[in-house]
């Protein structure tokens, strides 16, 4: 996609107008969500948040290539992927508020670890790259059971330095597992720029060593990300094995609400990337296609704001999880020593 929204028709994926508008609405929703969360965090109304502004194209475009039955193994910056995969906004917000209705985690995990059995969104830990092998294993099981499903797992550029990245990629290659590795390369692992993370000329090339395809894609171009992912998904589903996709993007905010990015990157750099904002780019494309007017854009913004406000209001008034939930779900049945502690904690 050119900066004016012009698209080479040969590269354009075949998506219906409804789908294109759906993608755009997700992008706006997630951008507004991020703005709102940071403000709630600064007001002390939520404990923590992780900004994904800038990542909308790579997260939404990639997940849109999955079916409901496919599995998603996201990391902590991937609220958008969870929404696209089917997690209701209310559930997303209940987890952010870590309240009694938090079905992702019952208030147990730091509040950026969404999961949903119903939507095949798998819980992750905060230890980066630990979930990649889970995706490979689940993909192995899908193949073992002769089911034509795929796993998509996402991670940041920092994760590619972990041994777990290497092992998961290696196992996936040997097994020809139907798994797609999506590296959201936002060029910083907290404060560390990519050039200090790897001497490799890019991340996609690493796939070559594991015997499968690696592709680098413009991560701010939602259609390019969708297309690359769809190609990888189709290949995996047909038995062609894994793909590594490197989506090059930029995080507009800090690593998290506890981070100050002005300590490690310049305003000029940020401005450069904000000029390549994935939402602005996609809006130009839709405008050129005659699919959206300024007025319709305002309407979308208004409707997502209303949706966000009602989710926030509902989640905010839901109480914290009951004390008992501190002790449940450790085992399938509560053993005697935890039962004793539960009794002690809840006595009188």
């Amino acid at each position: 996609m050119k900066s004016d929204g012009e698209y080479d028709p040969k590269l354009e994926p075949s998506l219906s107008h409804d789908d294109l508008l759906k993608l755009y609405r997700f992008m706006v929703l997630v951008r507004r969500l991020n703005e709102r969360l940071l403000s709630l965090q600064r007001q002390g109304r939520i404990g923590f948040c992780v900004d994904s502004s800038g990542h909308e194209a790579c997260q939404i475009g990639s997940t849109f290539a999955l079916t409901q039955e496919d599995w998603l193994f996201p990391y902590y910056r991937d609220a958008a992927m969870c929404l696209v995969k089917g997690l209701p906004l209310k559930s997303l917000m209940d987890h952010i508020y870590s309240n009694a209705e938090d079905s992702s985690s019952v208030g147990r995990q730091l509040n950026v670890h969404w999961s949903s059995r119903e939507n095949n969104i798998v819980s992750s830990s905060s230890c980066v790259a630990g979930h990649l092998a889970h995706a490979v294993g689940a993909a192995y099981a899908m193949k073992y059971k002769n089911e034509k499903l795929v796993c998509l797992t996402s991670f940041g550029d920092g994760s590619t330095s972990q041994g777990e990245f290497h092992e998961a990629m290696n196992f996936a290659g040997v097994w020809k597992a139907p798994v797609i590795f999506l590296c959201e390369n936002n060029q910083y692992a907290i404060s560390l720029p990519e050039r200090y993370q790897t001497a490799s000329k890019n991340i996609a090339i690493k796939a070559e060593a594991y015997g499968f395809d690696g592709v680098q894609v413009e991560g701010n171009d939602i259609l390019a990300v969708y297309k690359a992912t769809k190609t990888a998904v189709d290949k995996a589903r047909a038995g062609g094995g894994p793909t590594l996709i490197e989506a090059v993007t930029y995080r507009h905010g800090g690593h998290s609400s506890s981070d100050d990015p002005t300590r490690y990157r310049s305003k000029e750099e940020l401005d450069y990337w904000k000029n390549r904002d994935p939402i602005r780019l996609f809006k130009k494309y839709l405008t050129k296609k005659g699919l959206i007017s300024e007025q319709e854009d305002l309407k979308i913004a208004e409707s997502v704001d209303n949706e966000l406000m009602s989710a926030i209001r509902a989640s905010e008034k839901t109480p914290k999880p009951a004390l008992k939930t501190l002790f449940t779900d450790v085992y399938s049945e509560m053993p005697w020593h935890i039962k004793e502690e539960l009794d002690e904690a809840t006595r009188g």
């Binding site: 630990g130 041994g163 450790v330």
Partner: protein, 348 residues
């Protein structure tokens, strides 16, 4: 070798079984019992798969999985690439998709590249996902010294795992329990760390039923009744302790020998009822004493039965040094070293 006083299946019952159907018993070693349990469960449940280094073509370095790949094929008995992290990580992923993987870690000493997968992922999945995702993975690990293996083929680090809520930790000391506990482990809804004392893999033979039976997790076994001192142990040290009991009985000291079998959760009732009878407790394990699991048992007994104690609780452990190569027999608690403590307590 075990005597007629062995519990679990008494000599009388064995004889009865033999009379009922003489072909149902086999005189086998512990490593054969592991193999028998795996084979039996894999025949009965096609979701059970085995994964590890060299477990297929070679049948495992200890031959615990000998013949399984021939019977069940390379997709079910998986010769994995070398990498403990991904072995455990992919096993978790397989389990999330409905398989029941039984992992073999070649030596317990090699598990640490996969430690985060066990501690941060496997043990916490159920809890952190509010019960939505609960991997059923059995991690088998040959452990302990006495095979001339040096520092990295000899350690007993069960306390790392007993210190981790969410894990079940078991360690049998005889073929009968090995088969029954491994069958229980593969049917458990919780992740199980299954510790196999490799020193006695082939030194203890026992008649084991060929039919299906389980030993409940969480139950200790009082192998020998006694009145003066309770001697508690697990794994290979149970064999050592049996010799101690014989030596003690020659000196007129009656020792009650308890095989803990399950370390987490452990059978506090059996321990307490024995200690209330004898008033004296010696805990023997191969692991270094400081931070060893014996300390936890000692603390639990002190908190609950201090009034019954006639003497301090004593631990006999490996020394608080790394595990040595040439002096391993000096490192491992001998029957005589355990006897010294038993004697000291009896005359306290």
């Amino acid at each position: 070798m075990f005597t007629q006083k062995c519990r679990g299946i008494s000599r009388k019952n064995l004889t009865k079984l033999q009379e009922d159907s003489p072909e149902t018993l086999a005189l086998i070693t512990m490593v054969q019992a592991v193999n028998a349990a795996l084979r039996q469960e894999m025949r009965g449940n096609e979701n059970v798969v085995a994964i590890g280094e060299d477990i297929g073509r070679e049948g495992g370095v200890f031959r615990a999985t000998a013949g399984l790949q021939n019977e069940f094929g390379p997709q079910r008995v998986i010769d994995s690439p070398l990498g403990e992290d991904a072995i455990i990580g992919t096993a978790i992923g397989m389990s999330l998709y409905g398989l029941i993987p039984v992992v073999e870690i070649q030596f317990m000493d090699f598990v640490y590249p996969g430690f985060s997968q066990i501690i941060n992922e496997l043990a916490k999945f159920r809890y952190r996902s509010g019960g939505q995702y609960a991997p059923r993975v059995v991690v088998r690990m040959p452990y302990g010294g006495g095979i001339k293996g040096g520092l990295y083929h000899s350690q007993s680090t069960e306390a790392f795992f007993t210190h981790t809520p969410g894990l079940v930790v078991v360690s049998p000391s005889r073929p009968y329990d090995t088969k029954g506990l491994l069958l229980s482990a593969m049917r458990s809804s919780d992740p199980v760390i299954f510790l196999e004392p490799k020193r006695i893999y082939r030194t203890v033979k026992e008649e084991v039923p060929e039919h299906d039976y389980t030993i409940p997790i969480g139950k200790a076994d009082t192998l020998l009744q006694g009145d003066d001192v309770t001697l508690l142990s697990w794994g290979a040290m149970v064999q050592t302790c049996k010799e101690t009991v014989s030596l003690a009985s020659k000196e007129g000291i009656s020792v009650e020998l308890v095989d803990l079998r399950s370390l987490l959760p452990f059978d506090i009732e059996t321990i307490l009822s024995s200690v209330r009878k004898t008033g004296r407790l010696v805990i023997a394990h191969e692991a270094p004493k400081i931070g060893g699991f014996g300390g936890e048992i000692a603390a639990q007994v002190s908190e609950r039965a201090i009034d019954s104690l006639k003497a301090p609780i004593v631990r006999v452990g490996g020394y608080d040094t790394p595990f040595p190569y040439s002096l391993e027999n000096s490192y491992l608690p001998s029957p005589q070293r355990v006897l010294d403590s038993v004697r000291k307590l009896a005359s306290y």
